[in-house]
Symmetry: C2
Subunit: 378 residues, 2 copies
């Protein structure tokens, strides 16, 4: 498509800086290559085929998803290896996922943390005659899903997986999402170390029981940016790293110039305290950080579009209505009609609200990419 | 479509109880009829043609929208009278809205609060030879958009509107959104009284200047539920009332059984503190109330599906990840695979994340309605 200047784009709009995006994708792949671990990106962040293509080009080994229909959207577009890092426990979801994976010879990798999940997956896999790789989810501190390392269920579930001819025990999987709530990068590094140690202890316990643990898969962008040691880990599943946002910035893990996703908005009204812009919670989301963790003031860092990333003109989006953002004014004026560009708190949530990305190169729009798995909540 | 039991629906899913929805629509229309004011519902809440049809059947006089493309979606489906209660200041948006309204003989009613907006609307209206009704937005305490009542701009803008042959001064418009932040219903009633008094004072000032104020339009579901006096008001523009949610419940303005929109989810994992469900911030939103106002703990009130609205089994959705909800456990157990039904904090935000409503009658799914203006952010 023909390029056009940012100033001619209708707002609100989700901008994606292509060179920053590519830099982010390269950076994590280089870390992974140096540490000899695979990258299996979580596509819940971007839900976009063009971005996966960039990840594939540098060496991604497949994708991670949360939702059945996210997985199916990508499988139907040619993806051959998928980990659903979510405990699927519903027959109809497993049924269509396993049926399609079977007919397309997809390497399907499922996750479980309960006898209920094991029984459900076994039943549906048998129905389709498909052999499925299974990861046991270990709770490493988020206290969401997963089995605690000292729970007898660890050994029971793995043995039960091994006993089923339609299942293959692939290894251990975790998500240290509590890292998003850390105050400083050293805390994130500690959380990553703890995660690796927990998983290695579980692996040793299983090996003592003559059970091979082929893979150990970890996730979370902050822990990957903060870690310098991946002993025993075989795979990382970061999602947010393609875009970044205020959370890794707050944690001191990135510079503002590494944030690839931003929101373009227009000043529609002005009062003594605020520039009122046309991006509200229906564009920026009400997230104050990943996992609902509030580590930041407001809902984004805003700049006049021609002073983007310039700290001397940085403002805070202090409040949100559904269709309005309240940008706290500083010592400069902007007329109604001016454009404002915002680094969001949580880019995954912003992407989830949009239909497409507006791809930019400096201040030129160069393309539009569809968010193809938008709305795939099942 | 054939009916089927709720238990067979895939989750997460936005349920809409049809009889509660109809009751809510009737209740507000009856209040309006008794007070001799028109109802012009704000469709940003539901974005759905079938719901507007129910509102039309009992007497709605047109629609209110925030976004250009919301308005166009409804105009292209036959709506003949639209108020855009938002200061549109962008040529391209006004251009396509006025062009379509002109060709379809739509009664288009725009809102402004600045000389910039006036100039922009005038320019585009002239281009299309279309006469447009204009409301002046008055700030009644939300301090978002609108002119303060004692600002000389009130008279200047109205006179300037009157001088343009392509514009017609229709009256005054306000939104007392700060009512969502009240602690009790008496505060909401006071905010509504203040709103009416401010608008009537502005009307008197204009009338002293021989300017007729044909309409005075107010909004917000809480203020309408709390008010018993509409002196001088000609129109109400509520949105949230079709669904309701935890905010009017918290304010003591409704009973739980009046909440028409709920979220159905499945327990996918269990830990000592929480039932983990498959509805996270991408379904429930991170809103803690309208306008980002946090008056409630957590992100929704949850019940086992067969104990919906039963206070003895009420739980709080205490935390959200993107795809997971953390439901705080109480003194009863639920196995993995159980369904949970949730009254959300802010139903407008939940509807905005969904593609369709699943229409239910008691515990039977009876239909699906498309959220036709979903994603219309421009």
């Amino acid at each position: 498509m023909a390029t056009k200047p940012i100033s001619s784009i209708e707002t609100p709009c989700v901008l994606l800086d292509k060179s920053r995006l590519q830099d982010n994708i390269h950076r994590i792949q280089k870390i992974a290559d140096a540490q000899h671990v695979n990258v299996r990106p979580h596509i819940k962040t971007h839900k976009c085929l063009e971005i996966l293509q960039l990840q594939d080009e540098v060496g991604a080994v497949g994708i991670t998803t949360s939702k059945t229909d996210e997985a199916l959207t990508f499988i139907n577009n040619g993806v051959q290896s998928v980990t659903v890092a979510y405990p699927l426990v519903v027959d109809s979801k497993l049924d269509r996922l396993i049926a399609t994976s079977s007919s397309r010879q997809v390497d399907l990798r499922l996750t479980l943390d309960s006898p209920y999940g094991l029984e459900m997956i076994t039943r549906v896999a048998k129905r389709h005659g498909k052999k499925i790789n299974i990861f046991l989810k270990i709770d490493v501190g988020l206290h969401r899903c997963g089995v605690a390392e000292d729970d007898p269920l660890v050994l029971e579930l793995v043995k039960a997986i091994q006993e089923e001819s339609c299942l293959n025990f692939a290894g251990l999987l975790s998500h240290a999402g509590h890292a998003y709530g850390a105050a400083i990068s050293d805390q994130v590094r500690q959380i990553a170390q703890d995660e690796h140690q927990i998983l290695n202890r579980v692996r040793e316990k299983l090996e003592k029981n003559q059970i091979e643990v082929k893979e150990i898969s970890v996730g979370s962008t902050p822990t990957i940016l903060a870690s310098d040691n991946y002993d025993g880990i075989t795979e990382i599943r970061p999602g947010n790293y393609v875009f970044m946002d205020r959370t890794p910035l707050r944690l001191g893990l990135i510079q503002p110039q590494q944030i690839a996703l931003s929101v373009l908005a227009t000043v529609v009204s002005i009062n003594p305290e605020y520039f009122i812009i046309d991006a509200g919670s229906k564009v920026l989301s009400s997230d104050q950080g990943a996992h609902g963790i509030a580590g930041m003031e407001g809902y984004g860092l805003a700049y006049p579009v021609d002073r983007f990333d310039d700290l001397s003109h940085e403002m805070t989006v202090l409040k949100l209505s559904e269709e309005h953002g309240f940008v706290a004014r500083r010592n400069f004026d902007l007329p109604i009609g001016s454009m404002i560009r915002i680094n969001p708190n949580h880019s995954c949530a912003v992407a989830n609200l949009a239909d497409f990305y507006t791809i930019v190169n400096d201040d030129q729009m160069i393309d539009r990419w569809k968010i193809i798995a938008r709305g795939k909540v099942h």
